[in-house]
């Protein structure tokens, strides 16, 4: 048979005689043994649980967002959101997706088990210690968390090292791992400075510098990097300019290095660093726009709409970053609350919504892979879009955006009742997501596998 199968033109089918079905085995065709999905799923579940607990706390105490963020309880909740929700899901997703996107095998699955234990024990202990204002325990549990993150960075760095050559994606993932290690190290130094009462830098500036390493260095970098693989994959498009992708990652790195130093030293050069990062994000936006314009898939699914809406929030986040970095910005209760809005937009809006969007891709894939991959070609199995409700997904999208808008406006004006309304809408969105996640997980417990129906003759189209 010739290439491109010209003989497959205009043929009709006949019922096929079938042999007995062979025992199912996990696929291993490319010589790459697929990683177990159980641990990535555990990370995802730990993340979703942390998010639900965090939102419940905010519903109970909306005043936390109506005051300046340098309070033990808000710092505790921020770490629950950042380490419990975002980091858990990012780690679970990376363990599963980095090997497949880089077409290699994870360096060690055994290390993942140890890291999961250290991560969960570390972040829950840290959140408890922050809430109770106990710097010694923050340091102790932070060290445990750091051990886990060290294992994560080591495992992925060794996995990256197996891939020959460099591309923008490998550069971006490597950069995010570097900034993750840096953010954890900075956090440990901060905890040690509280315990042993030393701090050569202004404490608030040091905390903001640490936060930027984590949010911009790890989460924004990760969003930028995975976009270059996943947006073309899900929209049937291609990366349009490898060079533009490289420069976007490079400028983000340069800008973040500058931002860390200038924030730490409270330097008037902060806007310059912000501008370099915004330059990197502008190149990223340009590339994403080019990828979307070249896409072959007309309509985008709602998981992609969540993700693309999230990255659109980079525009107000960048404007807020530039405004707040301005050296002559007057220090008033309103401008101090704007810092809360900046954090909410970046963490809840940009990172949170992007993660929810990607979870609509990752969670069905993980469950599908566990429940159905060995049955494909042997029986009729569910496709990813059958595993959750799209109308619920749409309702979750709009309630999330409404909640974010109300929350940001209310936080800016320290309006407690408004904050409660905003958090309630976000909670509604998360409840909707939880229902959909339950639908997805039901396929893990009870896979829907049907035998192939007897085939009816039908005309085959041209290939």
């Amino acid at each position: 048979m010739a290439a491109m199968s010209p003989i497959f033109n205009a043929v009709e089918s006949k019922p096929a005689a079938r042999k007995a079905v062979l025992p199912a085995a996990a696929p291993n065709l490319a010589g790459i043994r697929p990683a177990s999905v159980r641990l990535p799923l555990c990370f995802v579940l730990a993340g979703v649980l942390s998010l639900l607990i965090g939102v419940a706390f905010l519903l109970a105490q909306p005043d936390l967002l109506a005051m300046y963020h340098y309070t033990p309880h808000l710092i505790a909740l921020t770490h629950l959101f950042v380490l419990g929700f975002i980091c858990s899901i990012v780690m679970g997703a990376m363990y599963q997706l980095v090997p497949v996107t880089l077409e290699t095998q994870l360096y060690s699955e055994r290390l993942v088990q140890w890291q999961f234990a250290a991560h969960v024990a570390g972040f829950t202990g840290m959140v408890w210690a922050f809430w109770n204002l106990n710097p010694a325990l923050v340091g102790a549990f932070g060290s445990l968390l750091a051990l886990g993150i060290g294992l994560f960075v080591f495992n992925l760095a060794r996995t990256l090292a197996k891939v020959k050559g460099w591309n923008a994606i490998k550069f971006g993932i490597g950069s995010a791992l570097f900034w993750l290690a840096s953010a954890v190290a900075a956090g440990l130094v901060l905890a040690a400075s509280k315990f042993w009462s030393f701090n050569p830098f202004q404490p608030l500036a040091a905390m903001h510098a640490h936060a930027h390493l984590g949010v911009a260095g790890v989460f924004v970098m990760m969003i930028v990097t995975v976009s270059y693989k996943l947006v073309p994959m899900f929209t049937l498009s291609e990366l349009q300019s490898e060079r533009r992708a490289w420069w976007s990652v490079a400028l983000l790195n340069f800008g973040l290095l500058g931002a860390f130093v200038t924030i730490l030293l409270q330097s008037p050069l902060k806007p310059a660093s912000a501008l370099v990062m915004i330059g990197g994000l502008a190149l990223y936006g340009w590339e994403i726009k080019a990828i979307l314009r070249a896409r072959n898939r007309g309509s985008l699914d709602w998981g992609m709409k969540y993700f693309l809406t999230a990255i659109t929030l980079l525009v107000p986040v960048s404007i807020a970053a530039l405004a707040l970095s301005w050296p002559r910005l007057p220090l008033t209760p309103f401008t101090m609350q704007l810092e809360n809005v900046y954090g909410l937009l970046a963490l809840t809006g940009l990172v949170g919504l992007a993660i929810l969007g990607m979870l609509y891709k990752i969670a069905p894939f993980l469950v599908w892979f566990h429940s159905y991959s060995r049955h494909i070609g042997r029986a009729k199995v569910a496709v990813l879009a059958d595993m959750y409700s799209v109308p619920l997904q749409i309702a979750g999208y709009w309630s999330f955006l409404a909640g974010l808008a109300v929350l940001c406006a209310a936080a800016a004006f320290s309006h407690e009742q408004g904050i409660r309304w905003g958090v309630s809408l976000l909670a509604l969105s998360l409840a909707i997501f939880a229902i959909n996640l339950g639908k997805i997980l039901s396929h893990f417990v009870r896979p829907k596998i049907e035998p192939f129906s007897p085939k009816k003759p039908c005309p085959a189209a041209n290939l």
Partner: protein, 105 residues
């Protein structure tokens, strides 16, 4: 029992039962199957995927192997995933384009 001959149309219809779970469309209408050759009951399939590094790589390729092995008269199946020529939406059938919402070609 008389074995059904391994005709092209039979192979094509059989492979149509392998669905890309992300796109929800079978691999034939997606244009992923480049060629199938047969010799003494052994089949060799050259196919591709919509993108290199596709997370479904092994599952789909194994699915092709499974479904062809279930046919009478097939003693072995070798599936080779190739990237040359790279997949392009123009390789999809009309039905495939309609199902995925591909707007060009």
């Amino acid at each position: 029992m008389i074995a059904t001959p391994l005709t092209d149309e039979l192979l094509l219809e059989t492979l149509r039962q392998v669905i890309d779970p992300e796109l929800g469309v079978n691999i034939v209408d997606l244009g992923l199957v480049y060629s199938v050759s047969s010799a003494a009951g052994r089949l060799r399939v050259a196919m591709t995927l919509t993108t290199p590094g596709c997370p479904m790589h092994d599952s789909i390729a194994e699915g092709v192997k499974n479904i062809l092995l279930a046919l009478d008269g097939v003693a072995g199946v070798e599936v080779e995933v190739v990237w040359d020529p790279p997949w392009h939406p123009s390789m999809m059938t009309e039905a495939g384009r309609a199902m995925t919402g591909v707007r060009k070609y």
